[in-house]
């Protein structure tokens, strides 16, 4: 069953086209990695999918339902969650209140228990009365993932969860993302970090200058010469 089907998605800021007719599909329970250098249009693509950015054209279907014209809150309530690149937490909310607030997105589904989130990220339990604004970068990233997860989504979009994090924290995140996937949630991971990409994704799409440059299985992507050149840019060649 296809969880997400994006067809000819175009995102533009005025005259500047950020995403150029992107098409991709994710099977239910599958994990897809969207690779690409800075400015390739990865973030624009995921934000347009969840409705945070307006779409110039194209169609987005979620489990067969056309969600192209829906606003973000309606999309999120359908079970399509986003962990945004800048986390977008509420600084004055405690960890616990953040998670409670996010259960709103469960809509008619049964939300996940806070315990299941604390089980995934034990440090959040210790910090549950602390304000989100006072957490470390890694803890904030965990909270952002927990916030998306607590609504019991069917597809989780993660936009560069590794950015600015120490390697120790990164390993915790990789483990957590793997566990999320094992629980049956489909994942679309936007990454620049090959280590995370390799350990999470089965399939890979490479984006360059807003266009889909290559797609295929993860193992091939790593070896793929041209893909690597696109990914690391011409300076490396």
């Amino acid at each position: 069953m296809i969880a997400l089907r994006v067809t000819d998605l175009r995102v533009a800021y005025g005259q500047v086209v950020a995403v150029h007719d992107l098409s991709l599909t994710i099977e239910a329970g599958d994990a897809l990695v969207l690779l690409g250098p800075n400015g390739a249009g990865k973030t624009s693509a995921v934000e347009a999918i969840v409705g945070l950015l307006p779409k110039r054209r194209g169609k987005v279907e979620f489990f067969g339902e056309d969600i192209s014209a829906m606003n973000t809150s309606a999309i999120v309530r359908k079970g399509l969650a986003l962990v945004p690149q800048w986390r977008e937490l509420f600084p004055t909310f405690s960890v616990e209140e953040t998670l409670i607030a996010a259960t709103t997105a469960a809509d008619k589904r049964e939300p996940k228990s806070l315990e299941s989130i604390y089980d995934l990220f034990p440090v959040l339990q210790a910090r549950r009365q602390q304000l989100a604004g006072s957490l470390s970068g890694g803890e904030q990233q965990m909270l952002a993932i927990g916030r998306a997860l607590v609504a019991n989504p069917k597809l989780l979009l993660l936009d560069e969860p590794s950015s600015g994090l120490a390697s120790g924290v990164m390993r915790t995140l990789i483990q957590a993302i793997k566990r999320i996937r094992q629980s049956g949630v489909a994942i679309l991971l936007v990454e620049q970090n090959m280590e995370i990409a390799r350990s999470v994704g089965d399939r890979c799409c490479m984006l360059a200058a807003g266009t889909l440059a290559w797609q295929g299985p993860m193992q091939e992507a790593i070896k793929h010469d041209e893909a690597a050149r696109i990914y690391f840019g011409d300076t490396r060649a």
Binding site: N71, S73, R77, I100, A102, S134
Partner: protein, 292 residues
Amino acid sequence: MLAELGNILIAGIKFGAIYALAALGLVVIHKATKTVNFAHGAFAMLGAFGSFLIVVHWQGPYWLAYLLVPILIGIIAALIEFLILRPLRRADMFTVVIATVFLGIALGEAFRLIYNTELLAVPGMFVGAPFVVSRVFVTKETLWVIAGALVTALACVMLFHHGKIGRGMRAMASNVRGAQLCGYSVDRVYMFAWFLGGALAGLTGVFVAPITGVSVELSIAVITAGFVAGVIGGFDSLRGAILGGLLLGVVESLAAAYVSSAMKNCVSFILLFFVLMWRPEGLFPERVARRV
């Protein structure tokens, strides 16, 4: 002399409680939607007018005014959000603020056209002898206004800080994108914030009607006091709005008694000026957390 001071302080707290309620409605809307609603005073005037209609014109019971008016003004405010401000949501802040300014003027003038009197008088909820404690006088109405306005204000703070709907407004205030990702709809939260702000304005009107009567000038008085009290309190803090309102009421009353009544308005602007000069974040800002 001490009794005189007591009487003056009580008068100040009475006005302050109403200012607090007025400021609270402004701050609720501003906090959730980042819009300063300059039509707030006109909403309060409509509330006072509603109170006049129910209590004087239709001879209804006073509790009905306290119950119905906030709901009705809340609905009017939510409708205005839906019809006028929603299409302007992508416009810049200035456009939206100007829209509320002219909305306020339009409501005032409409009222003037329909009700052509100098002032509509509304009786107090309570009449009768005041309580006297060592030559300090407290009328039942004063007690009711102080207690009623402050209890409502605190209930509103509780709703905002602990209720489910309040959580949505605070999330929206804190981070619009984050709130949407949590499943909160901008449209619904904005509409509810306007409903709540309108309801508070309406309630302010019901409380203030017996104290000042119903006139177009009321809308100016409410918006001015509410705005100054809000800024004193930090404009983003509900508790600050309440404390700011009380402080403004007491300072005005003291200035009127010991300097001159003409100083009353002057003092509120002097207070505003000094707060903006020395503590632009307000005297009672919310806990400030590190930016995420």
